[in-house]
Symmetry: none
Subunit: 216 residues, 4 copies
DNA sequence: CATGAATGAGCGTTCATTCAT
DNA sequence: CATGAATGAACGCTCATTCAT
């Protein structure tokens, strides 16, 4: 392992360290109320150091989002590649699991996509960053849409625009997280995200099926 | 018309003027990035004037939200009173219309409920305000839950906790709006909120039905 | 009584009304924390009206001070004229009474003289005002000094610069008021100004006497 | 000298630098009219920097006052410990010197005690600060009262409540300073604080003595 | 004269960002 | 590389003062 390489790895570790801290702080306080000082303290670094690894606060935030998007994308690609022979219904079940995993990975990441839509914020990010986020978002949507498209083609799901389905899945998922995390400032630590997601997916799944006789 | 009365009306007009401006700015930039100066400029007033009509930034924001919540509550109470003899399925259709109306009334209002959960923000509001918001939120949730409860009792909808259904409706609705409005920062890009809501309601409706043979 | 005269009197009444209200508010909150709105409300007038009678907040404040100074000056001139045949000791007793009366008239007025020393504030006052205040302050000091001078000449008081004595009397008086009024923000309404003044005057009086055998 | 130690010292120097500037500005303009910007400029720093060393404007002010109170307290404790065998009359003389020293240390500090009585201001200070100020104020008053108590017990001073004496000393002292400093806003006008204090103490001293034949 | 709505300068305070060490 | 002290722009908010009615 060359010096160059070792340095690179070291640098990666530091970024990771900052990312982990930032995730926690952003989740706890939200973007605006989280200060760089807070994050630095959480990462046991000085505030100036954060700027050696991230251009500014917005880019730090965006990079976290990008990470989950990459994670999500990877997992979705995995479904396509490895689980190609699952039925659309089963793929939907896997999709739910993947989304819940992404929630565990970073609870706010998907909702953060909202944040990253703002023109004002985009201006603060480097162009490559913007490009990367846009591309990966598109890939994710397409990947999800593929599942629905297959289901429609196979006559399992009702016939609607599959991309619309995909966006709904993301929106609904984010909406529930925002709502539940929003309430979470209260005293009890109860978090209903998972059971609520389960319920919503159950209903959506039933609603998507083209024809079905169900007895409960 | 007495002087007193005219002044009262004049005051109402000003509040309206500020509210309209604030709605636009908050929608455009979000709570934190919107400045009182921005809002004042949009309303063609000076910043100090805003404080003659609203105690502070948070209360201005909350008052906007409260308005739609009242509107929503009123419409929902109306369903209960005047449309008591509709079937649960029909009531669900009316509910969708009511939610879309509230969206026309103020696009961000429902998503603002997230904002108003935070202890930090509640601290800045006058107690009467907090009480009113909490009460009306509860009423809305209950009113929606009632529709589901009736559907469950009549054996039309699947058997789940009706309050959970109600919260899902709100979350889903907000999620879609946030997602679509987020994208909408552009100049005149098309807005897919309404068709998306239509689609989601269709799926949810189908998913909620207890037993059904559907042919498309 | 001509119209002109009646108007003049009416105007005087309004000024009086404002002055009374302002005195109370300034005493309660101090100059900086008292707002013109507060004073207007206390006077049952609108804030704009105050400016019809006083050039600005500083001049309103100064005019109140001037009033007590005039009152004090009048009373002191009275001692000189009517009580010329009292002994210096007796005059000192009367002086104490006069100062306590001025305290009843407006508790903060004498301490306000401190406020009116500031160059910054003087700039905001009209020149006539400044002149009048300076003159009357000088007269008061001289009047008090005269009492001491007489006492010294008659060999009753110790021999020091009588003007210094006069200034000490004012300073001490103001110091006690400030101290006691400062404490007065507390809960109990106890006010020790008068007994404290009594005590101080007793000590000062004993201290001033040139020669004395006292048994207690 | 370790790095830690050097930094601590550096920090102390900065606080000192700010304190010195703040003292001057507060003395010149009074608490309310002095702005943080003014103080920063005087200290040749930016306004934000002040907040790295002091929680807020009130705490900066209070910390200045606390410093003299500590100084004063220390000196008074010293009298008690080291000069226990002085006569009450001599102790009174030392007390005067100590008060004049505190005046040199910070001309406004004692008068600031007035400022620090206000509930409104106390609310802005950290609890430890409040506690410390209250304790030290009490100690100072007690320490002074002790001198008088001893004098009374030994039959040298007239019999009055010794705490009242102590408070009078403080009030009188502050009154004179306020009066003289108030006039002192001019450029290089002479300052009569010290001779006036000398004179007042002479009179008070004479006034306090229980029985005495004095010839001048 | 009297009003009180509107103004806008000014304040205390925060915090992302920079840069000398 | 890492630090953290320093910066200074920006914000929410107050209130003396003005002026159309």
């Amino acid at each position: 392992m060359g010096i160059r390489e070792r340095k690179e790895r070291e640098r990666g570790r530091r970024k990771q360290q900052i990312t982990v801290a930032a995730k926690r702080i952003f989740l706890e306080r939200g973007f605006d109320k989280a200060t760089m000082e807070d994050i630095a303290k959480e990462a046991e670094l000085s505030s100036g150091t954060l700027y050696l690894y991230f251009k500014n606060k917005h880019e730090l935030y965006a990079s976290i989002t990008l990470k989950v998007l990459q994670f999500l994308n990877m997992r979705l690609a995995h479904i396509k590649a490895e689980k190609a022979d699952l039925s659309p219904e089963e793929k939907l079940e896997v999709l739910k699991e993947v989304l819940l995993d992404s929630y565990d990975f970073d609870p706010m990441a998907l909702t953060n996509l909202f944040h990253l839509q703002s023109r004002e914020i985009l201006k603060k990010l480097s162009p490559e960053f913007i490009k990367e986020i846009k591309e990966i978002t598109k890939q994710i949507i397409d990947e999800i849409a593929d599942i629905f498209e297959e289901g429609i083609e196979k006559g399992v799901f009702i016939k609607k625009h599959p991309v619309a389905f995909a966006q709904i899945i993301i929106s609904v998922f984010s909406g529930i997280i925002l709502w539940e995390e929003g309430k979470g400032t209260g005293d009890d630590e109860s978090n209903y995200v998972k059971p609520t997601i389960e319920l919503v997916f159950e209903i959506l799944y039933r609603g998507l099926l083209k024809e079905k006789r169900i007895a409960i």
